[in-house]
């Protein structure tokens, strides 16, 4: 159990969104199965990393290979499905914030926001990112089953007449 917790912490260290997490776990499972069910494999960890490198994108490969040797060494042909299933269930139990953003943010920005969120809101928080151009100038999010809109459009609606007051003052 504690091993799983450690592994999940390791997974969350460089993965901040639900989509990335699922895709990378899938990549890990695919690479592990390919390497472990090959009779010519002599070094499983190296074979798994090689298989992941062949199939994943640059960012995903970098993130998955950074998870450490312990992550890969635990897999055997007999236990791979059980370990993957356990990891997926643990990931599904993590706290999730649905985040609406106007454009796709760079990984570094998401990392900053995620670090802040895990510190201020919930540890091991994952963002379920959705792109919505209408939330420009801010963002919107669903937290505790409630939708909150902090975009420019929503804020201007929240304070009607502010724009015209500024325009009048400017005129």
């Amino acid at each position: 159990m504690s091993d799983t917790t450690t592994l999940v912490q390791e997974l969350c260290a460089n993965t901040y969104t639900v989509g990335d997490m699922r895709r990378r776990l899938g990549l890990l499972q695919e690479g592990a199965e390919l390497a472990l069910f090959n009779d010519e494999t002599t070094d499983p960890v190296t074979a798994i990393k090689a298989a992941i490198k062949e199939r994943g994108t640059e960012d995903d490969v970098a993130a998955v290979t950074a998870w450490g040797t312990e992550m890969f060494s635990q897999f055997t042909a007999a236990t791979i499905r059980e370990h993957i299933s356990t990891l997926q269930k643990a990931v599904d139990a993590l706290p999730i914030m649905t985040l609406y953003i106007p454009v796709a943010f760079p990984e570094s920005e998401l990392a900053t926001m995620s670090a802040w969120g895990r510190e201020e809101c919930a540890p091991q928080l994952l963002f379920d990112v959705r792109v919505d151009p209408q939330v420009a100038g801010g963002c919107a999010f669903v937290w505790n089953d409630t939708y909150h809109d902090f975009s420019f459009k929503a804020q201007s609606k929240k304070y009607p007449g502010v724009i015209t007051q500024h325009l009048n003052a400017y005129a």
Binding site: A104, F105, P106, M113, A136, G138, F152
Partner: protein, 261 residues
């Protein structure tokens, strides 16, 4: 030995009897043929005689039937002649009686007609006299009525002239009063009208003010929509994803400050 003799005797007897029967039978046949040959002419005679008698009976019956038919025809003709003569007699008798009655009826009708004509003439004469009398009476009444009508017309004309003059006087008086009242009303109406116009002016000013506010509000909404669309366009086109992320991060921090997170 004795019984043997008895059997032979019996057989001989039987044969003898048989022979005798054969002989009798032959004799019977021969006798019958002879009888037939002898009786044939008599039989033929009887038949021819019977035919002759029958033909004779038929002829007699025919003669008798002819005589009965002739007698019946004679009787029928006689009866018809009797009925014809009786019918002629009856016809003559009834024609005579009908002619007599017709003549008497014509005479009676002529008499009655003469009497009725005379009575009708009397009634007509009396009616003419009565009509003449009534006509004269009507003419007299009409003349009297005409005279009365002329008098009445003259009286009515005089009365009408007097009434018209009186009405003209009354109209003049009413006109004077109306003129006076209208002058008073005009003054009061002007005051009321001025008050009404003043109140309408206030309502109109309110309506204009409300309309102006509504238009300004609508214009403001349009301006805000325009500004929003411009801002969104600028945000999308002028800001980098990192800058957008920075704004989103600030929005999250603002949500935290509002204790939403």
């Amino acid at each position: 030995m004795n019984s043997y003799f008895t059997v032979e005797l019996l057989i001989g007897t039987f044969l003898g009897l048989l022979l005798a029967m054969v002989i009798l039978l032959v004799l019977q046949v021969r006798t019958t043929n002879k009888v037939n040959k002898l009786t044939y002419p008599a039989y033929e005679y009887v038949i021819e005689k019977a035919e002759h008698d029958a033909e004779k009976l038929v002829q007699e019956a025919q003669h008798k039937a002819q005589s009965i038919i002739a007698a019946a025809q004679q009787a029928g003709a006689k009866t018809i002649a009797d009925y014809t003569s009786q019918a002629k007699e009856i016809h003559t008798e009834y024609s005579t009686a009908l002619h007599t009655q017709t003549e008497s009826l014509e005479h009676a009708m002529q008499d009655i007609s003469d009497e009725e004509t005379a009575a009708l003439q009397k009634v007509t004469d009396a009616a003419e006299d009565m009509i003449t009398t009534q006509e004269k009476s009507v003419i007299t009444n009409v003349e009297k009525t005409n005279q009365s009508i002329q008098q009445l017309v003259a009286q009515t004309e005089q009365g009408a002239k007097e009434s018209i003059a009186h009405i003209e006087e009354q109209i003049a008086a009413v006109g004077d009063r109306l003129e006076t009242q209208l002058k008073e009303t005009d003054t009061t109406g002007q005051e009321l009208l001025q008050k009404h116009i003043a109140s309408l002016q206030g309502v109109a000013d309110k309506h204009v003010e409300m309309y102006t506010d509504a238009r300004i509000k609508l214009l403001d909404e349009h301006i805000e929509q325009l500004v929003e669309s411009v801002v969104l366009d600028v945000l999308h086109t002028q800001l980098t994803p990192s800058e957008q992320a920075s704004l989103a991060f600030k929005a999250l921090q603002e949500a935290k400050a509002q204790h939403i997170l």
